[in-house]
């Protein structure tokens, strides 16, 4: 059963940056955009498994640090012409606190 778990305060994640949340099964990258929206993806690029958490965040995309694929934060889809997708994790922001559904 998955449940909402508090992971961090919003201010602990840099704007246009991310933090890594380690669970027993996977690493999750939690991103914060310029407008303070938060997104969470499996920290694993569909191309060669690069850590997306370490990429540059712009708009609602992140650029993988290894080979520059652009991945959409909302849906985990690679931008054309690359093809692939990364799992999204449900995330919510309440009273300045970030929760993940894990």
């Amino acid at each position: 059963m998955s449940e909402w778990k508090q992971v961090a305060a919003l201010e602990e994640i840099p704007r246009l940056g991310s933090r890594v949340v380690k669970t027993t099964t996977q690493d999750i990258a939690v991103f914060r955009t310029a407008e303070d929206k938060v997104f969470a993806l499996h920290d694993h690029c569909p191309h060669k498994g690069g850590p997306l958490s370490q990429g540059i965040v712009h708009g609602d995309k992140v650029t993988c640090p290894l080979h520059g694929w652009n991945i959409g934060l909302c849906d985990g889809q690679a931008m054309a012409p690359d093809v692939g997708n990364t799992a999204c994790i449900e995330v919510k922001l309440e009273n300045g606190l970030v929760f993940l559904k894990v």
């Binding site: 990429g55 712009h58 652009n70």
Partner: protein, 812 residues
């Protein structure tokens, strides 16, 4: 709000390219309707020759399928000829009565083959070479008839003749001039081409003027010339030129003068009506090649999108014949005139001919036959108007921007087998690239990079990819405009313009730059943000805010990311000199954090590879305790100063190279730059520190030092160029620092010193640093000011909580 209506007349390459560009930048402002004469969707007209030659099918050359039109909600009237424009009511009518209203109208009616006005021109079997139906007619004729005559020995004529010959016809090419392709080749190259084509079985009648086509039962039977000679002909293809198709525009009262007259924004005399492609007359010129159409399309799209930016100022074109196995290239004024000089290489037996035409210090024309490997390099210089006097003595032998690895002796793209690897980084072979170009309709280097990844990593195969592109799409190939290339898709400004704006308007942070310079994206992209960050901190040191989120991960984490997401740690070892204590501390750290690999680097220091990110602050802390600091092995910054042993120990040494290297490396600590910067100091001319391939190389002599700049040992080895001779250690520091500061202030992001110096010229750099003492001192002071108070980033991150946070994992 109701959308505006855009009607496009002409479903060819120019019109649809404009629509594509428009959809890219403003997808939602128009309802689009397209009228096309032909019953097909938009196809790649320049690939008709390969279709005729049987190398491709019609389906292969479709650029946009009918699905594309419906996906983009474009109404396509294929096979409906627009025949009337009512400019008052703003309605376009087609022959069958279909009509469409417009707010903006785009005329892209292309051109028509010019048919010689001679008796017999209307007989069956007499055609031009323009569209799919012409190709169908030719293919059909080749299965039923024997003799074909092609009138016109230009590009199109020769491609038609070649195709018909491959399909088994007996082909004669008739040409008015004394040699073939006189608009693309000089007489020598033209004769060499003729010989190659004769070897393929084509026949030529040169200097012949056609008088009449003779028919029998309504079909053409023979061609008769002015001199009375006759040749049999069951099919006559007229390829003597094209004429802009502007009849419709003229009938609507739009100003035409041998083409639809447009201004630099592609607007006609009716401000609601734009025009692009072969039908226009721009500054008195009409173009019959596809590359200029793409430039027009881009400009026109920005105006249709109401951005109001971009001007089309005309094109320099290059040509390439799409006949398999024949390599020729020409561009610019290849014939020359009494103001020009020529450099010529002619190997008649080897089948190679190269002619370069120079006017003063600039290349103005090139004509290559047999070996066109350097065509794109010459074309680039020609387009850029680059001064070539510094490289004039080896200009003929090509420089080409191919890397050193893997491409020697196999640089002729056209003759490479499909299985040959082109891009060694991403393992892309020629066949994959050719397939992508043909199937996806790619036209530019960027397209090929995106779709195949070829040349997208180190870039050393860029030249080769450009050649493959040129050999696949011929005249449609247009090398990237290096001068005005926008920084990235977020802006139309180039690096130089952005740098100038940051300096002149004193921008201090990235959001301001993006807002003031009207960035198209909310916060840039992974290409422009690191560049902007560098421009800001290098232009306004101690004033502009460094933005870690706009730096690539390596600079954000102060360590190099590895393929598995771990990092490498390289402590600085000034001049490559270490101590037993440092080595012990490194060994202890390697044990404590279970570092899987310990490696000695090429920069004379030690690399600890495979460190987990959350261990970084801990390992740095241990190394800091032993007095070590970050080596910046990860940055667009000063890397190392490599030294040889020098006069301290070496029996040949003339100068204390180790001490000199340590002084330089200390001076430059914390220096960010457009790209990485490496130095070396050798104690004598034996040059054991390999100073000849460094950004700044110092070589000790009995009487002082020689300085070399702009060397590079990477993708393409470039030997550093002699800069000046100096006497003292202090002078070495001042001259090196001044050169590097000039590069820091003027270099574009990701431009190594070799490319910066190539762009601005060594003479210019010398004039700023060597010859102008006051300017040199000012540069030196500016660098010192910029580096003042720089803190070791490792110690900094160990100490401070917010900066340290990025290294901490959240566990749940």
């Amino acid at each position: 709000m109701e959308k505006m209506k855009l009607v496009v007349i002409g479903n060819g390459m120019a019109g649809m390219r404009t629509v594509e560009e428009l959809l890219k930048i403003a997808p939602d402002i128009y309802d689009i309707t397209v009228f096309g004469d032909e019953p097909h969707p938009n196809y790649n007209r320049i690939m008709l020759s390969p279709v005729l030659a049987g190398e491709q099918t019609v389906d292969d050359i479709v650029i946009n399928t009918r699905e594309w039109y419906s996906e983009n909600k474009i109404t396509l009237h294929a096979g409906k000829r627009a025949n009337k424009i009512d400019r008052v009511k703003r309605i376009v009518y087609a022959e069958d009565g279909t009509f469409a209203e417009y707010d903006r109208l785009l005329l892209a009616t292309g051109s028509k083959p010019f048919m010689l006005p001679i008796p017999g021109k209307d007989l069956d079997g007499v055609i031009g070479f323009r569209d799919i139906s012409d190709v169908d007619t030719m293919i059909d004729a080749s299965s039923k008839h024997k003799h074909a005559v092609v009138i016109g020995g230009g590009l199109l004529g020769l491609e038609a003749a070649n195709g018909l010959a491959i399909r088994g016809m007996d082909v004669t090419v008739v040409h008015l001039n004394e040699w073939l392709l006189e608009r693309q080749l000089d007489d020598v190259a033209g004769k060499m081409l003729q010989k190659s084509l004769e070897d393929k079985g084509l026949k030529f009648l040169l200097g012949k003027q056609t008088e009449q086509l003779i028919g029998q039962d309504g079909r053409v039977k023979a061609v008769r010339f002015k001199d009375g000679q006759e040749v049999p002909a069951d099919l006559v293809v007229m390829a003597v030129g094209i004429r802009p198709n502007f009849a419709l525009a003229e009938s609507a009262g739009i100003h035409c003068n041998r083409g639809i007259v447009v201004n630099d924004t592609m607007q006609t005399y009716d401000p609601r009506i734009y025009s692009v492609g072969e039908c226009v007359s721009h500054r008195g010129t009409s173009y019959g090649l596809v590359a200029p159409l793409f430039e027009m399309a881009k400009v026109c799209a920005t105006h249709l999108a109401n951005f109001g930016i971009g001007r089309y100022t005309g094109s320099v074109t290059s040509t390439k014949l799409k006949v398999t196995g024949i390599d020729l290239f020409s561009a610019g004024d290849f014939m020359g005139n009494d103001k020009t000089d020529e450099i010529v290489l002619h190997d008649a037996v080897g089948g190679v001919y190269k002619k370069l035409v120079l006017e003063g210090d600039r290349l103005v024309g090139a004509c290559l036959y047999g070996d066109t490997a350097d065509g794109s390099w010459y074309f680039q210089m020609l387009k850029d108007g680059k001064e070539v006097h510094e490289i004039r003595d080896h200009l003929m032998f090509g420089q080409n921007h191919l890397g050193d690895a893997g491409h020697k002796g196999q640089t002729q793209a056209a003759t490479m087998p499909d299985t040959a690897e082109v891009c060694g980084c991403n393992g892309v072979c020629k066949g994959t690239i050719v397939k992508a170009i043909k199937e996806k309709g790619l036209f530019s280097l960027d397209d090929v990079r995106k779709h195949t990844k070829a040349s997208a990593s180190c870039g050393s195969c860029t030249g080769l990819v450009e050649q493959i592109l040129a050999s696949c799409i011929g005249g449609a190939y247009q090398p990237a405009d290096t001068k005005n290339k926008p920084m990235c898709g977020c802006t139309d400004l180039n690096h130089g313009e952005v740098r100038a704006a940051i300096r002149e308007r004193k921008f201090l942070d990235i959001p301001t730059v993006q807002r003031e310079l009207k960035w198209r994206t909310p916060n840039g992209c992974a290409s422009c943000r690191p560049a902007l960050n560098y421009y800001l901190i290098s232009t306004w040191p101690h004033e502009a805010q460094d933005d870690p989120q706009s730096r690539f991960i390596n600079e954000r984490a102060h360590a190099n990311i590895q393929k598995d997401g771990t990092y490498s740690v390289v402590p600085r070892m000034l001049g490559g000199i270490t101590t037993p204590d440092e080595l012990r501390a490194i060994a202890d750290a390697a044990d404590k954090y279970k570092v899987p690999t310990v490696k000695v680097t090429g920069g004379q220091r030690i690399d600890l590879l495979g460190v987990k990110k959350d261990d970084l602050p801990k390992i740095w802390n241990d190394l800091s305790q032993a007095g070590m600091v970050s080596g910046h092995a990860y940055g667009k910054s000063i890397r190392t100063v490599k030294t040889c042993v020098g006069a301290e120990h070496c029996r040949f040494g003339t100068q204390l190279s180790m001490a000199m290297g340590v002084k330089l490396e200390k001076m430059l600590f914390g220096m960010w730059a457009p790209h990485k910067v490496k130095l070396a100091v050798s104690g004598c001319p034996r040059n054991c520190a390999e100073a000849g391939i460094k950004d700044v190389g110092v070589i000790g002599l009995e009487s002082g030092y020689e300085l070399y700049v702009a060397g590079n040992g990477g993708i393409k080895t470039d030997v550093a160029q002699f800069f000046c001779k100096v006497q003292t250690d202090e002078e070495v520091m001042e001259y090196s620092a001044a050169f590097l500061q000039l590069y820091r202030e003027e270099g574009y992001y990701l431009e190594r010193t070799v490319h910066y110096v190539e762009r601005v010229g060594l003479d210019y750099v010398k004039s700023k640093v060597v010859e102008d003492a006051a300017n040199r001192k000012a540069l030196y002071e500016r660098l010192q000011y910029a580096l003042q108070g720089y803190q070791d980033p490792w110690a900094d991150r160990v100490a401070e909580t917010p900066k340290r946070r990025q290294f901490e994992l959240i566990s749940i």
